[in-house]
Assembly symmetry: C2
Homo-oligomer: 199 residues x 2
Amino acid sequence: MPRKKDYHHGGVKTELINAAVKALKTQSLEAVSMRKLAAAIGVSHNAPYMHFKDKEALWLAISDAGFELLSKEINREIAVHSLWRERLVAGCNAYVRFAENNREYMLVMFRPSTPGIVRALAPKGAEALGLLIRELTAGAASGEIENTDPEKLAVLIWLMLHGLTMAKLQIGGERGPLRQLGSEDRIGWMLDKVLALHS
Amino acid sequence: MPRKKDYHHGGVKTELINAAVKALKTQSLEAVSMRKLAAAIGVSHNAPYMHFKDKEALWLAISDAGFELLSKEINREIAVHSLWRERLVAGCNAYVRFAENNREYMLVMFRPSTPGIVRALAPKGAEALGLLIRELTAGAASGEIENTDPEKLAVLIWLMLHGLTMAKLQIGGERGPLRQLGSEDRIGWMLDKVLALHS
DNA sequence: ACTCGATATTGCCAATGTCAATATACCTGT
DNA sequence: ACAGGTATATTGACATTGGCAATATCGAGT
């Protein structure tokens, strides 16, 4: 239904987002320009500004979509387990896997200036952190870990996870001390260390 | 000895770096431009390109200086203790304190594109990580922690430390779950968790 | 049929990174 | 002291970019 003649071609907003995400798969954040995106979807260099006040607004939209996707992914992988410990590991793995498969989104979500970190650690917490806290609370309730401050523990775990993830994204993951640390069994190892299980 | 008449004013290179560092104290990375820096130190907009091939080259130089400063700082604070555990804590605290007092440098050292993380985690490791490994090895040798993989443990600790630090830098540190986590005693708490001391 | 609001276009501007050509000062060997 | 070379700095130019303003085009409701 869009694209009558040529002027109003209809889906600039979503097409622009798609183009941006695709561009980010091969280019860096700063290398992506409004004008090139506009050209890529075949509109004039100012058409984007109908739908996004700013370049920043574009990133914002993409970032939102990214957080949405991430939460969905984590939820999906958590749901297949019932024991809190397995759910925790699954969630962490989902986080890392999402980052690897969606580098583009992560770059936007946690770009330096306007911070995904703020959102991810906001008082009420993003979904992802909330899930973590929930599982840790469950673990504490079951008596398997010390009942001190599940929230603090969650932040700590998330910091590790996030640090690991972003580091892997920057490095590319081929070489260096992170290679082994990133593989799935190592995440379990990390969690063991941090949780200091009673067992 | 510099600044004879007006043309060759001598210290463009160092003055440019100083100006950039100063500018970064109040502005974001992308807000700092070669031309403004040149203007700030009173030279033409192309003078900088005598001393730096690129804008990137400028960041590189500043980044190098930053890593140098960081290592010095950590060494200085570690040196006043003799027990490995105290040295470890002192080093971690030094890391965080350096980041808080030198936000400018950290922003450049760990800017997204060309990665400080690669350098900090490079095979031979930056000074800072090397120090960490050394203390952990000492701890393992003394039998106070498990003797498994001091290097892996070091990376893990660094990831937490770095994640915490960068998150604090982005947030500003006033509010949110990181406030308490960042204070000095909390770093000890983090280390306890990760080290899972025998004691 | 006419108007209005959303959408898209063209034109424009200042700022920026960077290249090329030119000017200026310093240094070195004679 | 001087000539020439070299490092340093300047001016000029250019393409790209983000973003504003004015204009054009279309669709829907009266």
